[in-house]
């Protein structure tokens, strides 16, 4: 059984986005049930110079669609960060999943040696697609999904790690 570059990338992002959608649902349900203003939760953050919950969701969307586009050598759709409601955030996640599910497996499998060039804070970085996925795209994606979860937990939303990991 050979490992597939598609299998270690696209479905991992899709699963993580599904769990992100799930914890967002729980966050909104908690706000509604407890009489908390959903807008306060939407704009909650862990530090003044960190992204809000909404920003973490937008970043998880970007991390997965740009990560996948870079390894596949394709262009990701542009999603401006204009969401102001939970429904819009959920639509953003759903659009991201839709894009990822439409990525051609054959365009990813075998692409692990493809050159990926990206700019980070003014520096041009060169990776193989495999190194980019393992050292940048996946850790970056999980950072934003986890931080969205952490913002919700810090705001009192009852979640457990299985809400993040998902069902097996």
């Amino acid at each position: 059984m050979a490992l597939s570059f598609y299998d270690i990338s696209v479905p991992v992002f899709v699963r993580g986005l599904g769990q992100l959608s799930h914890v967002l649902d729980k966050g909104l349900a908690h706000a509604q049930a407890s009489g908390t203003d959903p807008a306060a939760l939407f704009n909650a953050r862990l530090a003044p110079d960190m992204f809000t919950l909404a920003g973490q969701v937008q970043s998880a969307s970007d991390a997965s669609k740009l990560g996948t586009a870079r390894i596949a050598g394709i262009t990701a759709p542009s999603f401006p960060d204009t969401e102001t409601t939970y429904a819009e955030l959920q639509a953003r996640v759903a659009k991201t999943i839709e894009f990822l599910n439409g990525v051609d497996r054959a365009g990813v499998d075998g692409a692990e040696a493809r050159e990926v060039v990206m700019k980070v804070r003014g520096n041009e970085l060169k990776f193989t697609a495999e190194r980019y996925l393992l050292q940048f795209a996946l850790p970056n994606f999980f950072f934003h999904v986890t931080t969205a979860y952490d913002v919700l937990r810090h705001s009192g939303v009852p979640l457990s790690k299985l809400d993040y990991l998902g069902r097996f």
Copy 2:
């Protein structure tokens, strides 16, 4: 170029633990420079029923050593959660990296179809080693590394995402 099961697992954990050690160093330095009690930071958490910073580090250690042991079919060393200082936490991270660096590449490569059985909250779950790595071990590991970072950020430690991602 074929993907290697070792390359998509062990070095990913080792890199993440190195960054965890780096953000812990920055946390301690910030506490010392700002006159904050390091013990308060050590025991800081994002919610009353979440792990402290120390607990997140212990969990990242466990996630990586148990994750690797399960996919390699070996036994991980037992590290009791007795750390009470930053130096002890850093030693825990270093011991975990030492264990991971000693894992035989040949025992991991080709093991992607190995059966992994684990108990989660009373349920016995069966995975292939590949599915276990991608759906459980890696997301779980990044959860704890990110949450350690988030606790530090929430406590006022100046960090940027590149402290988490590392140098390229």
